[in-house]
């Protein structure tokens, strides 16, 4: 299915629960956190969807809106991409895990949890993946400044002749 057909299909299946958007050929459906699991299950098991290939799951800092969680899956049989997106609050935001649907989501959820501070309910082991255990903060949030750039003045900040 191409992105438009996929959108129509999803809208027919899920109705108002999804907010579809086709961006540069990729369909993204935005859902409420409560619908996350249902849409993911449909993507995985729906006979017309069969998104069996796990691409990635990541967070996006949406500032005041919260943290967006983006799940990208692909179907090797139907050859279509589907991006599922939901926005959770900055503090204590959480969505159900999809690591039982796609084994690969395990590490991606752990990564998103440590980098964005999003919880994944039902995840078997939400320990830190990339960062050391004692690390504090959520580095990929916008309020977390890049220390290397803070520590050193920018040599290009000077004006010519200064």
């Amino acid at each position: 299915m191409d992105a438009d057909a996929l959108r129509d299909h999803l809208v027919a299946e899920l109705g108002d629960a999804v907010e579809p958007e086709v961006s540069y050929g990729t369909l993204t459906v935005t859902v409420a956190p409560g619908e996350w699991r249902r849409v993911a299950e449909l993507a995985r098991r729906g006979p017309d969807l069969v998104c069996n290939f796990f691409d990635f799951l990541c967070g996006v800092d949406e500032e005041a809106d919260g943290i967006a969680v983006v799940l990208h899956v692909y179907s090797t049989s139907h050859r279509h991409h589907l991006q599922i997106r939901t926005v959770v609050p900055r503090d204590g935001g959480h969505v159900p895990t999809v690591s039982d649907l796609w084994a690969g989501a395990d590490w991606h959820e752990r990564e998103t949890a440590e980098l964005f501070g999003v919880g994944f309910d039902g995840h078997p082991n939400l320990a830190k993946l990339l960062l050391p255990e004692e690390f504090e903060g959520f580095p990929l949030r916008k309020e977390f400044a890049l220390l290397t750039r803070e520590a050193k003045p920018w040599p290009g900040a000077k004006e010519p002749g200064e």
Partner: protein, 445 residues
């Protein structure tokens, strides 16, 4: 279980045995230096006279590893114009411990001040030493190669195209002139032309200097974007004449340069080394003198460059290459420029010591590049020697030309590898040159 059918095992043995009979792929690196392509990203070279302190490189650098200090200076108006300010570079340093060799700074530099040199042997024991300051960066410029020509079907950059066309016209003219000259003059000619030539080129070089401030113009160095065509055009234009015009090597009686010998002995060198080096120094001097005498005998004395001993005139400046490098401004005096023989006569004052035999690559003089530059103020014949030209020459005669011989000898004696010694001697040379300029020219900061 291993199904030892054996065929695969024997085949494998065959492959290794076959390889054993073939020459190895090993390159014996410290003994055999790699032949690196022109685009090799070895180290970043700075031609500081091209730098206008625009800060672009420092701003675009992803690693923030370029440090630039500068100050503003009022320039006296040339003739009734308004006084202008310009930025003068105080410090330009690249921290190669931080640099990730992406080449963005070289790419964004609008004035061709930064170039890649394939030199790569500058490892240090202390990390601070990897911060190369201006003088070190300047020395790398001598090893910047001419860029490769582009693949067929590539679109030539506009500036290169126009430069190439101009050069072709010049080359054609030069060829015609050379043809004429050959018909008219005896085959071992042109020290005459050579002697007068550098002076002529001086003016054009300074004129070209005006062009360097715009990125599109061919910069006064062959390392700029159009250098390859420049080199080839130089070869095309001057090739025929240079071959004929190169004075035959002069014969001199072997002897020993007593001063050098004494100095080396005092420096603690073994008698044998000192003697050998002193002999070499003597031969160099004697040959230079003989050539000068030859040149003087063949023609009117050259407009003797009254150069300070430190910033002496070049011995073997390929004027044929220097001139096209100063394109396109030198188009006005093209025939002369291109017809100049490869070996310009040495200035009499240059002959004493080996150190004297260095080109005063005075193109670095701010005056030579600044719009207000007065050609006469810096008027030694050496002015036109674009550093790149010197670099091109370096392959043939590097020791005499651009290396501080004293430093070089000292370092070699101290047991440093030849390459390090050469690099450091280059740096020493550059420092000396700058000091001389500050003392003598006074045009700098």
């Amino acid at each position: 279980m291993p199904a030892l059918k054996g065929v695969g095992l024997l085949k494998g043995l065959g492959v290794t045995l076959k390889t054993m009979t073939r020459p190895a792929a090993t390159r014996q690196y410290p003994h055999v230096k790699p032949d690196l392509p022109a685009r090799s990203r070895g180290v970043i070279a700075l031609i500081e006279e091209n730098c206008t302190v625009c800060m672009l490189c420092a701003r675009e650098c992803p690693d923030w590893c370029i440090y630039i200090d500068s100050h503003k200076e009022q320039v006296a108006p040339k003739e009734g114009g308004r006084a202008r300010t310009r930025n003068l570079l105080d410090r330009f340093a690249i921290d190669f411990a931080l640099c990730m060799y992406c080449g963005i700074c070289v790419e964004v530099c609008p004035f061709d001040a930064l170039h890649w040199s394939p030199e790569f042997e500058y490892a240090e024991h202390q990390i601070e030493k990897l911060t190369h300051e201006m003088d070190t960066l300047r020395t790398w410029a001598y090893s910047v190669p001419a860029p490769d020509p582009l693949e067929e079907g590539a679109i030539e950059p506009k500036e290169i195209e126009s430069a190439r066309k101009a050069r072709e016209a010049v080359a054609a003219k030069a060829a015609a002139a050379a043809e004429q000259a050959r018909a008219a003059a005896p085959p071992v000619p042109a020290p005459a032309a050579a002697a007068t030539q550098p002076a002529a080129a001086t003016t054009t070089g300074a004129a070209a200097g005006t062009a360097t401030t715009t990125p599109t113009a061919a910069a006064p160095t062959p390392v700029a974007g159009d250098a390859a065509p420049a080199a080839s055009a130089g070869a095309a234009g001057a090739g025929t004449t240079t071959a004929a015009a190169r004075p035959a090597d002069v014969e001199v009686e072997p002897g020993i340069d007593q001063a050098t010998y004494d100095r080396l002995l005092a420096a603690g060198e073994s008698d044998r080394t000192a003697r050998a080096k002193a002999k070499a120094a003597y031969m160099r001097r004697a040959k230079a003198e003989a050539r000068a005498a030859q040149a003087a005998g063949a023609t009117e004395p050259a407009p003797a460059p009254a150069a300070p001993a430190e910033a002496a005139a070049p011995t073997q400046v390929p004027a044929g290459e220097g001139a096209p490098a100063a394109e396109p401004a030198s188009v006005e005096t093209p025939a002369a420029a291109t017809a100049a023989p490869e070996t310009a006569p040495p200035a009499p004052s240059a002959v004493g010591t080996p150190e004297g035999a260095e080109p005063a690559a005075d193109a670095r003089d701010p005056d030579a590049r600044s719009p207000e530059g007065d050609p006469t103020a810096s008027g030694t014949a050496a002015e036109v020697v674009a550093p790149g030209a010197a670099a091109a020459q370096a392959d043939a005669e590097h020791l005499e030309i651009e290396v501080d011989q004293e430093t070089y000898d000292r370092l070699i004696e101290a047991g440093e590898p030849e390459r390090t010694a050469r690099a450091k001697a280059k740096a020493a040379y550059a420092r000396k040159l700058r000091a001389a300029q500050r003392d003598g020219g006074g045009a700098g900061s």
